[in-house]
């Protein structure tokens, strides 16, 4: 089949076909690179969002966390209590003996 016949069959002017064949490569290249750009940007956005969420979580965790203050207080109280008890026991023993 001659190109002219193909063009006629498709209802396209042969000149159109020529122009298309000349430009299509470059157009495809442009399209491809634009697509790549968009994809990479989308990836970047997603990645940044993930990192932001992680940082937020950590921040919230730090905000909520109160450290070991309560435990320390409890331990100090326990220590005081035990010390007092030992003193009392020693006194008791001394008095008994």
């Amino acid at each position: 089949m001659e190109p002219q016949e193909v063009a006629a069959a498709a209802g396209v002017h042969p000149i159109e076909l020529c122009v298309y064949s000349i430009l299509s490569n470059n157009l495809d290249g442009i399209y491809q690179s634009v697509n790549d750009l968009r994809e990479s940007q989308a990836l970047l956005v997603v990645r940044l969002k993930q990192i932001r969420n992680l940082l937020k979580e950590e921040q919230e965790y730090y905000n909520e966390e109160e450290g070991l203050g309560v435990e320390r207080e409890r331990l100090e109280e326990l220590e005081l209590r035990v010390e007092k008890l030992t003193q009392k026991y020693k006194k008791l023993l001394a008095d008994c003996v």
Binding site: V19, Q41, R52, Q59, L75, V82, Y89
Partner: protein, 323 residues
């Protein structure tokens, strides 16, 4: 032919007239040549000429390709603008994230330091408490043994180790501690020598005196107070209880093991002598109190109302006389 012509020319020009040409008019090849279309003029074959014929189409194609170019350029520029915007936003968020991250790292370090310090403090406190608990245990054992010995010196009825309800109700913790110690003690003694434990039990029995119930609480109080300083009379029992309770709770394992060993002996010892005495004593005491009341009331109910009336009358008389 050529050679003939040459030879003719060279030889004699006259002979040329006589030469007969063979025309190609009648040949088939000439006919074929005639049928071929004539060549186009050279002017028409230059590119300019060719394109001048299709100038309209050419112009349209040119315009179209220009338009295509324009479209593509426009698209690309809009795409670039969009990309720039996105990139700008990305950079902004990136900077924000970077700042956030730095803050978090600082915070992390601070928290890490504080938690490590806290953990050190906590571990130090825990070890200290452990040491103190050990010493407490060591202190509590002789204390309990002292109490037990003092208790053993008391008459059987006044002992803490007896099964009197008042002891349990008033000093449950002390009672428990003593029981544990007792059980330990007995098991140890049993292990060492079975005879002394047996001989000791009867001696305890012999010590017992039938003293009034009212005395018991006071003596118990004394016994419980003994370890403490004398003057504090009212509050010490509770404190002792508390201290004993706390001491018991801390050295649980040893005492519990002791109690397990001792429980059999303790129950055996308590059951044989005290079982006999204590219930009788309880019954007797209650009965005495109740009977006195009943003796006072019973006659009134049983006897006739006359007798009651007489009694009442006599009482009234007595009152009148007193008045």
């Amino acid at each position: 032919m050529r050679s003939i012509r040459k030879s003719g020319e060279s030889t004699c020009p006259k002979k040329r007239r006589n030469y007969q040409f063979i025309s190609i008019k009648q040949t088939s090849s000439f006919e074929a040549l005639k049928t071929l279309p004539g060549l186009a003029p050279s002017k028409q074959l230059t590119p300019d000429a060719i394109f001048s014929v299709v100038q309209r189409e050419l112009k349209q194609v040119k315009l179209d390709s220009l338009k295509i170019n324009e479209c593509v350029l426009h698209d690309i520029s809009s795409e670039a603008a969009q990309t720039d915007k996105i990139e700008h936003q990305l950079q902004v968020s990136m900077r924000k994230l970077h700042r956030h991250y730095r803050r978090i790292i600082k915070r992390r370090e601070v928290l890490e330091n504080s938690t490590s310090r806290n953990i050190e403090c906590c571990s130090a406190a825990v070890t200290k408490i452990e040491v103190l608990l050990e010493s407490l245990k060591e202190l509590s054992d002789p204390l309990v043994s002292l109490i037990y010995k003092k208790d053993a010196r008391l008459p059987l009825k006044n002992r803490l180790s007896s099964d009197q309800g008042i002891n349990r109700q008033h000093y449950p913790l002390l009672f428990e501690a003593l029981k544990k110690y007792e059980s330990n003690h007995k098991s140890q003694k049993n292990n060492q020598s079975a005879i002394p434990a047996q001989s000791r039990a009867p001696s305890c029995k012999s010590d017992t005196d039938l003293s009034a119930l009212k005395e018991a609480p006071g003596q118990k109080n004394e016994a419980s107070c003994e370890p403490k300083s004398g003057p504090e009379s009212a509050t010490p029992p509770c404190e002792n209880n508390n201290s004993l309770h706390s001491s018991e709770t801390s050295p649980v394992p040893e005492i519990s093991s002791f109690t397990n060993q001792h429980t059999h002996l303790g129950t055996a010892k308590a059951s044989i002598p005290e079982f006999m005495l204590m219930p009788q004593f309880r019954k007797a005491s209650r009965a005495s109190v109740i009977t006195t009341y009943e003796q006072a009331c019973h006659p009134c109910q049983v006897e006739d109302q006359e007798v009651f009336g007489k009694l009442a009358g006599s009482l009234h008389k007595n009152l009148d006389i007193r008045k």
